[in-house]
């Protein structure tokens, strides 16, 4: 049995997911890249579900607020309201307010802005008092009371002649419950026939009776008239809360008393002819149930399927369990390669063959397990969409956001840690990068600024780029400011790239500049630190007046990599295979003037002696090899002793005391049981350059 706190936690997580859906849909509608009908339905469902579940837990403020949001959305859905820019904007504010309320449930210390809530409710209120001209035919003007059935009978012309009398039907209904909002409408034609019936009856009935009972009242006029009996909203809620077997939608509705078996039969009959329509659609079409009921049932049904293991769309698993599984699979990979090594020494071909199929399976299991931890970066990107929208409005700038590669996957733990740095860079680009419209126009740029977010895989790493077409970084101004702040001296010679990197220095950006943006008073130095904590790198390209590009390069992490093992002395090193271009014997003769450059078929190749760089004690081996690695646009040679071949390396994070290693991103256990170190090539090269320039 799940305890209440756990259930609440699940509610909060679900609500947060739904709020995310709302936000994404609203932003899509705002951006014009959406089919509104689908999105509006999705937004409505999200609000509706949040309201329903919040009610279960007695979170009344959430229920109250969300109810108003839902009511407005309902009108939009029924085409009584236009989803215009103003309304989208209001709904986005409401979404934010709801997110605040939900967040406050787990962290009561977070204050919810009550004034904002009241303000938003007032705004929503103006939409709820729908102006007359927008309201369609008055027939539908009736609003359903929450707990009453709504009965709508358009009597057929022959009702009186058939001996039927609405009066007696009405008086019978009074025996079932209380009648409310009874309204008799009529429209008489010019050739009025007193024996024909022109009546149209609408009423609300509060009753404990089921639909069948109500329908029985109108049993004999079913043929001649149009009778619609809609269940009260309470039934909708009941539907959402009744425990269900995996059932068909129709049966679900019948059980809840929202539809009678006869109606269902009719619709099923109809469905045979209109195979493209769903039972739900047809029921709505027939007026048997309002859309909300069918949706509630569909949701319920989806929810039900959700709980059936075979149909999982999304399965939430405790991260701990997953980590444990991945650790075990890591062990299996290691044990597998140890076995493979031993088996290869036996010269038993049958055994080798048999084991190779196990190796193949292990590889598949490994890939499958690892993909479990991978998530698409799109989620982070859509959060950035919101920031771009809000900040550009705040700043009065017109910015178009372009997202590429939202489906690129990376480790979930990284996605979480990335969101802050990404947010900072994006805000920075909006604030300092993209110019105000008048300046852009003056400079002959399109008035609308462009911000491009892209993600892609490159050589065993994930690269995320944030590119703007703004003013770019002004190296001379950055330099001047850094000198003024005493970060560098005026004599110090720095490359363009080095100057750009100064913006990451602690103390470069003053708190005053960033508080307004981030609200936390942190600057770009934190961004760099966060990225480095993820063992990533951040690079800046910029062209003054044209724009700037921040590139964040992150390892795929956690994982197991396809590595290439080399040794230097008795130190085992593993390089990511996809960064290796070629391996060759190290010929001292090809050295360029005894410098650390090599003539590689006419090209100059800088190289690093790993023994020297890593200060390994053993004397150089008599025969050395050079591994040519390529990363991004750079190429370098690494001088090692022996080349030991490819392997699958399970990355084990380095112990916490080794948090500041250079060029090593992790460790692994080799088939022999030895420990190997996994090299982070770009970091290694960067370190090599820095020790060289320090000399």
């Amino acid at each position: 049995m799940m305890d209440m706190a756990q259930a609440e936690q699940i509610f909060i997580e679900e609500a947060q997911d739904l709020l995310q859906v709302m936000e994404t849909c609203l932003l899509d509608i705002e951006g014009g890249d959406a089919t509104p009908a689908d999105h509006i339905a999705a937004i409505f469902r999200a609000a509706h579900t949040i309201k329903g579940s919040a009610g279960l837990f007695g979170f009344n403020t959430v229920v109250g607020f969300t109810h108003s949001v839902e009511s407005v959305l309902d009108k939009v859905r029924d085409n009584k309201l236009q989803m215009d820019a103003l309304l989208v904007s209001l709904l986005l504010d409401c979404q934010q307010h709801m997110a605040q309320m939900i967040a406050a449930l787990s962290y009561p210390a977070l204050a919810v802005n009550a004034a904002q809530g009241t303000f938003l409710l007032e705004q929503l209120g103006t939409y709820l008092q729908a102006p007359k001209d927008l309201a369609p035919a008055p027939v539908a003007a009736q609003t359903a009371a929450a707990d009453a059935w709504s009965v709508d009978v358009a009597y057929g012309l022959d009702v009186f002649r058939d001996g039927m009398d609405p009066v007696s039907q009405l008086s019978y209904l009074t025996t079932l419950g209380t009648l409310e909002q009874v309204s008799l409408q009529y429209s008489f034609p010019a050739d009025f026939d007193p024996e024909s019936c022109y009546l149209h009856l609408q009423l609300q009935l509060k009753t404990g009776a089921g639909k069948q009972k109500i329908e029985d009242v109108f049993e004999f006029i079913q043929e001649s008239s149009q009778v619609q009996i809609k269940p009260p909203l309470t039934v909708v809620e009941q539907l959402e809360h009744t425990p269900l077997q995996p059932e068909k939608l129709g049966q679900l509705l019948v059980d809840a008393g929202a539809v009678t078996p006869r109606e269902l039969e009719q619709v099923l009959e109809l469905q045979k002819q209109q195979t493209h329509s769903s039972v739900g659609e047809l029921l709505v079409q027939q007026g048997a149930v309002p859309t909300a009921v069918v949706e509630a049932a569909v949701n319920r049904q989806a929810h039900q399927e959700h709980k059936r293991a075979s149909d999982f769309q999304v399965l939430k698993v405790e991260a701990r369990k997953l980590d444990h599984l991945i650790k075990l699979i890591g062990e299996m990979v290691t044990a597998g390669s140890a076995n493979e090594m031993l088996i290869s020494q036996t010269n038993n071909e049958q055994l080798q063959e048999a084991f190779s199929s196990i190796t193949h399976l292990i590889e598949q299991i490994r890939d499958g397990a690892l993909s479990l931890r991978m998530v698409q970066i799109g989620e982070s990107f859509s959060r950035l969409k919101r920031i771009v929208r809000d900040v550009s409005r705040e700043l009065g700038k017109d910015v178009e956001l372009d997202v590429v590669g939202a489906e690129t996957e990376l480790d979930k733990s990284m996605v979480e840690k990335l969101s802050d740095p990404l947010m900072h860079i994006v805000r920075n680009a909006l604030d300092h990068g993209i110019e105000p419209v008048d300046i852009r126009t003056y400079r002959g740029k399109p008035a609308q600024g462009r911000l491009k977010l892209s993600a892609y895989h490159e050589a065993g790493a994930v690269v995320i780029e944030i590119q703007d077409d703004g003013a770019g970084l002004d190296a001379s101004r950055i330099r001047a400011k850094a000198e003024e702040k005493g970060l560098i001296s005026s004599e110090q010679a720095l490359s363009q790239e080095d100057i750009y990197r100064l913006i990451f220095e602690p103390g470069f950006s003053t708190a005053a500049q960033v508080t307004n943006l981030s609200g936390r008073g942190v600057g770009m130095d934190v961004v760099k630190r966060n990225i480095e904590e993820l063992r990533g790198q951040i690079l800046i390209d910029s062209e003054l007046g044209k724009g700037a590009r921040f590139r964040i390069r992150l390892p795929l992490t956690l994982a197991i990599i396809d590595g290439f093992e080399v040794t230097v002395g008795d130190t085992h090193l593993v390089l990511p295979v996809n960064m290796i271009q070629e391996c060759l014997e190290f010929e001292h003769a090809e050295l360029v003037e005894d410098r650390n450059y090599l003539n590689l078929r006419g090209d100059v190749l800088p190289f690093v002696r790993l023994r020297q760089l890593f200060q390994l004690p053993q004397p150089p081996a008599s025969r050395e090899n050079i591994v040519v690695v390529q990363y991004g646009r750079s190429r370098a040679g690494l001088v090692v002793d022996t080349l030991n071949g490819e392997l699958q390396a399970v990355i084990k994070p380095l112990a916490p005391i080794f948090r500041s290693t250079h060029g090593i991103s992790g460790s692994t256990i080799l088939g022999s049981g030895d420990v190997g170190f996994i090299l982070d090539i770009p970091q290694l090269i960067e370190y090599a350059c820095s020790t060289e320039s320090a000399r």
């Binding site: 009186f160 009066v167 008799l184 009529y186 008489f188 007193p194 024996e195 019936c197 022109y198 009856l201």
Partner: protein, 100 residues
């Protein structure tokens, strides 16, 4: 026995008989048709004798009100007749009210 039309002072009084239902509405309606040919100043509708009243009868009254009220204000007699008042209450109708 359909509706009878009495003339008293300035009033035309439409007196419905005991039956105002699907069985009488055709006749009632026919008798009323003559009314439109007369110059009618003020109309009074007397329901006090009605003993059988159904939806068809109600519909006829509603039709009358719609047809006649624009020309003259309608006055009603016998709205307190329980046969009538019960049905009007069921439908939450007030015949004296101007039609919306």
């Amino acid at each position: 026995m359909a509706v009878t039309i009495e003339r008293k002072a300035d009033f035309h009084i439409l007196v419905f008989s005991a039956e105002l239902s699907i069985f009488s509405v055709r006749d009632d309606f026919d008798s009323l048709k003559t009314l439109s040919q007369e110059a009618v100043s003020q109309l009074m509708i007397d329901l006090s004798h009605v003993q059988d009243f159904d939806s068809a009868g109600l519909q006829l009254l509603l039709y009358l009100r719609q047809q006649l009220q624009s020309e003259q204000p309608l006055r009603w007699l016998g709205l307190d007749n329980p046969v009538i008042s019960k049905v009007l209450a069921l439908f939450r109708l007030d015949l004296t009210a101007m039609e919306a």
